[in-house]
Amino acid sequence: MWLRRVGAMALTLLVTSFLVFSSLYLAPGDPVAFLVKGRSPSPDQLAAIRHEYGFDKPFPVRYWDWLTGMLHGDFGQSYQLHASVASVIGSRLPSTLLLVGLSTVLIVVFGVGLGIFGALRKGKGVVVLVTVGAAVPSFTAAIVLRSVFGVRLGWFPTVGTGSGFGDELHHMVLPAVALTITFMALVTRVTRASMLEELGREHVEVVTSRGLSRSTVIRRHVLRNALGPVVTVSGLLISGLLVSTAIVESAFGMNGVGSLLVTSVDHMDFPVVQAIVLLVVATFVVVNTVVDLVYPLIDPRVRAA
């Protein structure tokens, strides 16, 4: 089963990479003209692009070269930044990873925490919070956070990435919170619903009637059993989280992969756009395969099926 899942993952990655590669040919007009649109390349540069993309070779060969190139870390050249795509992305990756990592911690801790709280409390407060939270776009959150905690109170910097780990983290707080809100609301909702469903199950009544303390019952029998949907949904949210870094990084003027995606679209730097799209999609596929593989540990019934 392990092998089958990984095989399916490889196949999905192959298909998605093909889609991303061939998307270039969806653009209207000649691909070469599209790639250099908005620039006035010298004949030498044009020839270099033709050679790099192998427009002289048949389509399958071009795809194969592109694919094997990427597997070796060669994502092509950025036209705008006059550097290899790999180095451009690589230099911005740490900042984005820190942002995503920080936000993930916040999402999991507060999302699951609020979900548990909402399931154990009778009131509707958490439901209202979740409905509104899921509707607050990260750019709105960014603006509010900047104007309140950045401008009015001056607690956090409102712009930039910072230098040195401590300073970087300080710069990262508001963006991470802005990125967190929507996804936290979704995780809270799933956790609450899943907990409520488990709370009503007979096996919970059984252990309660045996005299186990409420906290033990909640922790070991309700929360533990409710984890399945939470993990599944969290896995599905990862791609949205990665794309949302584009919004947050742009709003806070940060130098990350997300803002790179936006400026690359703006400057028609297609190789960079293609590489980032592929990275996001590949991350989604890999993460969800891992979730699939880990799932039997959460719910042993799946192992039998």
Partner: protein, 329 residues
Amino acid sequence: MNTLLDIKGLTVAMAGLGRPILDEVSLAVHDGEAVALVGESGSGKSVTARTALGLFPGGATVSGSVVVGGTEVVAAGPGDLRRVRTSVASMIFQDPRAGVNPVRRIGDFLTEPLRRIQGRSKAEATAQALELLGAVGMPDPPRHLRQFPHELSGGMLQRVMIAYALTADPRLLLCDEPTTALDVTTQAEIMAILGRLRRDRGLGILLITHDLDLAASVCDRVYVMYAGRIMEAAPSAALTSVPRHPYTRGLLGSAPPLTGPMPRLAPIPGAPLGLAEAVSGCPFAARCAHVVPGLCDATTPTLERHGDSQVACLRAAELIDETQGEGLR
């Protein structure tokens, strides 16, 4: 004789319902005694059993008294409830498939209360779990400890549930339709295990079932329940030889005709009373062949002693006289 479970005048009601879920229920189980509580679904028999562990329906108002092993459970604090649940009474549920946490191993399920409540070490708890699995007739206890619930059959899981109930070393075992979800051969095995445990450990048993024949063959005394009320309470022998309440006779499938020819083994006409329906007088009046308009739907019968039995029927005395010579069953 020591009384393990003593329910007196227990009424459980919820707003928005037509009648109370339980209405003035009184019931007792003594040390080492097997008592059955019989009724159709919705009669309140499961609710009654659960009250012995302080499990009341959410939002219900409760009055009356439930004393378990000397502890009053109605309005009890967490400490008293915990004492009852962890050392006096345990429960076996109807559907073992739903009753065992599906994501934990059998060993984890069984040792959890031993370690967390009884305070055993891991090794002690495991040893005791193995012993209990053997006591309920599991073929290969060490292997079962490592198994997940979905790897066991329903009958095997019910044995696990019994073993789980025994981890409390209880004096009272509440069995809520323990065989309903199982096939017929397994039912007999489970009942045999319960019978053996009762003998070996001197357990008091409250058996909840809809099967009056089973109840009478296994238990010392039987309570018959209908629409949240006890209709008849009698020693098993007396109940089957001289069922006094029309409802009991209906359950036995032997309601003899009073006048004229009627087919034997007639089912009880009509359907059990829903929770939304209001009652005036005898709750069984609407389905009773012997109903007297103006009497049965006006006055609520209480349990009265007739011979060995206690019967809640306004016409109990005359009905017994009328049916005496007819040779029941």
